[in-house]
Structure formats: C-alpha cells, structure tokens
Symmetry: C2
Subunit: 233 residues, 2 copies
C-alpha cells in the first residue's frame, strides 16, 4: 500500500478510536449518572487509563468534545425537523422543531443535561462550543425571518420595549437575526425559553406527581406559545 493510503489508515484508526472513546463516555454518562471518569472509560475500552491521553489532553477536553457533539446532534435534529413541513407552514415548522427538541432530550437525557442543565463543577466551556450551540437558534431565526417576510409576524400596536432592552435586542438582531424586528425577536426568545423550560421541568422531575401525559401538555403549550409569538397556521 502506498504512502498516502498508509497515512490515512493510521488517521482513520485514530478517528475511530476517538469516536469510540466518546461513545463509551456517552454510555457511561447515561448509566452512572452525570459523572465522567477517564479511568472508567479506559476500563470499558479495555485499555490502560493513560492511553486515553493519546486522544484527549485531559478530562475537560473529553467533556468539551461531548458537549460539542451534543450541540451538533441536537442542532442536526432541529434542522432535520425544520426541513419536513412546507416552508410556508410556520406553525408546522414550530411544532416540528419544538417536538424534535423534546424527543431528542428524552432520548439522551444526560446529553441534554450536559448542555442545558446545571454547569459541571469546575468545568469552563471554551469558545469551541459557541458555534454548535447556535445551530438550534439559527433555525428559530429562520422561522422568525420567514414569518416576518410572509407578513405573519408583525410588530403590534401595543409592543413597547424599554429603550435599553430595545438597544440590546438591536445588537443581537444585527448579529444574528437581521430582518426580525426587536419586539418579534423578544417574543421568539420567550418561546424558545418556554421550550427548554418545559423540557427541563419534565426531565428534571418537576412534573413528578403532577402530570402524566407530558407530550400532550408540551404540545398544548407549544401551540399556545405559537399564538403568543404570532406563529399561525
């Protein structure tokens, strides 16, 4: 086998190992609660603990990789969900996206906790997580943008933002949501927060002894929120 191919074999094996380490780590997060142990990962991988350091410089590095993956996985799920309904079907897109978020969170609750739960003690998220974290909000931005463009999402006569808040939202708008008026953006953020608030309540146990059909409750709240935002069928 020639040089290039030989090199790429080593690189491929390396990439596969890296993926396997992450996948074992994910499995352990799900099993042992929220603690991530390099030694336990090494044990599961059938390798001595120091071998992990060939692939990740430290425990925090592995944690960062898991967080980035989680954001990307959720972001992908959101993008996929948004692609199914017709572009003009704003309510359909909103419901598809929000249910995709809930479904994803229920399927991998520990990864959800990693990115939307309490911060891991002593861990400081580096800049690498910002991009992947934005994938989801970008889709929200698309829906708002399309709603504005279609004339469905409008500034309302009684929309009043305190000037300081209006200025803050104007900055945010300029960075990420250029065509969305500030009052609409504020409502969109409220909706976004409602999504994750409801999912977190469900996952973190606040609905225990309170609600049983949580999907139905979620669906209802998302529809109510849609009309609060102004997203209509």
């Amino acid at each position: 086998m020639d040089r290039m191919k030989a090199t790429s074999i080593r690189a491929r094996v390396r990439a596969e190992m890296t993926e396997e380490i992450k996948s074992i780590a994910r499995r352990q997060l799900a099993a042992d609660g929220a603690n991530l142990s390099l030694r336990a990962v090494a044990r599961d991988l059938g390798v001595v603990s120091s071998a992990i350091y060939r692939y990740f410089a430290s425990r925090d590095d592995l944690l960062t990789a898991l967080i980035v993956d989680a954001y990307n996985s959720l972001g992908q799920a959101i993008e996929d969900a948004d692609a199914i309904p017709a572009k003009e079907d704003l309510l359909g897109r909103w419901l598809a996206v929000t249910h995709a978020i809930r479904d994803w969170a229920l399927a991998q609750p520990h990864e959800y906790a990693l990115i939307y739960g309490s911060p891991v003690p002593g861990y400081q998220a580096p800049q690498d997580t910002i991009g992947p974290a934005r994938r989801g909000t970008n889709v929200l931005g698309d829906i708002l943008r399309d709603g504005v463009q279609a004339g469905v999402l409008k500034v309302r006569p009684d929309d009043r933002l305190p000037p300081v808040l209006a200025a803050e939202l104007a900055t945010l708008r300029a960075e990420a949501f250029p065509t969305v008026p500030e009052p609409v953006l504020a409502r969109g953020m409220a909706g976004w927060i409602q999504v994750f608030g409801t999912v977190s309540f469900e996952l973190f146990g606040q609905f225990n002894n309170v609600l049983t059909d949580r999907r139905l409750f979620f669906d209802h709240q998302m529809r109510a929120m849609a009309s609060h935002i102004g997203v209509t069928a």
Copy 2:
C-alpha cells in the same frame, strides 16, 4: 438546672450543630462547584469525618436536608414577596413573586441548581421534599385564584384543551387549585415554566454573549407573560 432544662440544652446544642453542618455544606456547594463531600464538611467544622454521622445518617440524608431547606427558603421568599403588594394588584404580585424567584436564585445559585438543575447522580429525592416544593406553586395558585375571583382571569372563547389534557388538569385542579378553570391553570403553568426557564437560562450560561441586562429582559418577559396569562394591572 432541672431535668427538662438540661434535656433541652443537649437538644439545642444538637440543633445548632445540625444547622452549622448544613450551613458549611451550603458554603462548600457555593465554593467547590456542585460536589458535596462529608469529609470536607467535617474538616471545615474542625471535627473528625465520622462525627458527622451523629447528625446525618448518610451523605444522601444531608443532601435531602439541604434540598428541603432550599425549597423552604425559596418558598419563604416567594410568600414574603407576595405579601407586599395589595391583594388586588395581581400584576404587582406576579412581578414581585417572579422577581423574588430570580433574586433568590442569583443570590444562591448552587441551591437553585440543587432544586431546579440536573438531578444529582445517584440521588433519589424522598417524599420529604414534596411539601416544601409546593410552597411556591401554592402562591401561584393564590394569585390565580384571586384573579379568577376578581373576574380578571377568565376562560376565553378560543380556549380549547384536548380532552385528555383537560382531564389531567382537572385532577390537578381538584388537588391544589380548586377554583381555577383548567385553561387558566394551563396558562398559569406556562407562566411558571417561563419564570424558571428564564432563570435557568441566565444561571446556566445560555445568555452568555447574548444578553447583558438580564434583569431588564426578565422583567419584560414577565410582563409579557402576565398579559399572556391574563394578569393585568
């Protein structure tokens, strides 16, 4: 000193020790991130680690005590805030209560994370936490009840709940919010979720690089939510 008094001294010292252990534990949660270590608490208390077992049967017992205290402390803050505005000033009460929640959470973020963050790995909350956890929602219930009684909170013509959800909420209503119609209750819950969703976003870092004046944003969202619920000045 007579027998009764002598007994009560021992009991009082014991109660004081118990409080001091919890207070040191709280301080450590704030300092070391979210990990609670009996040995570290004992060290700070200037006592050998096994001595803690005179006061708490296990680490989980201490954790439970901290959680109960946190719910009670937050519950107290909510009740106090609700008592300030005039009873008829529903919007004032809603804003007082929601800001009290945010203020409390910002003042003791780790206690907030304990009760509204990701569950502690391997810890199962016992029944003792249910009562204290309800103090806050009871106040929400009071506001809804008074709003209904004043004729401000009403079922709207377009209020439509899926029958299964209506039945669930009817059960919940019967248990805790007797005079509040199901659709109003649903809106109240959305508001409640919005409060904690927004606070969690702020505390858990989702507003980093996004918003700076978070109090103002919160205040605006709480006002918007008030009108969504139907709570008006």
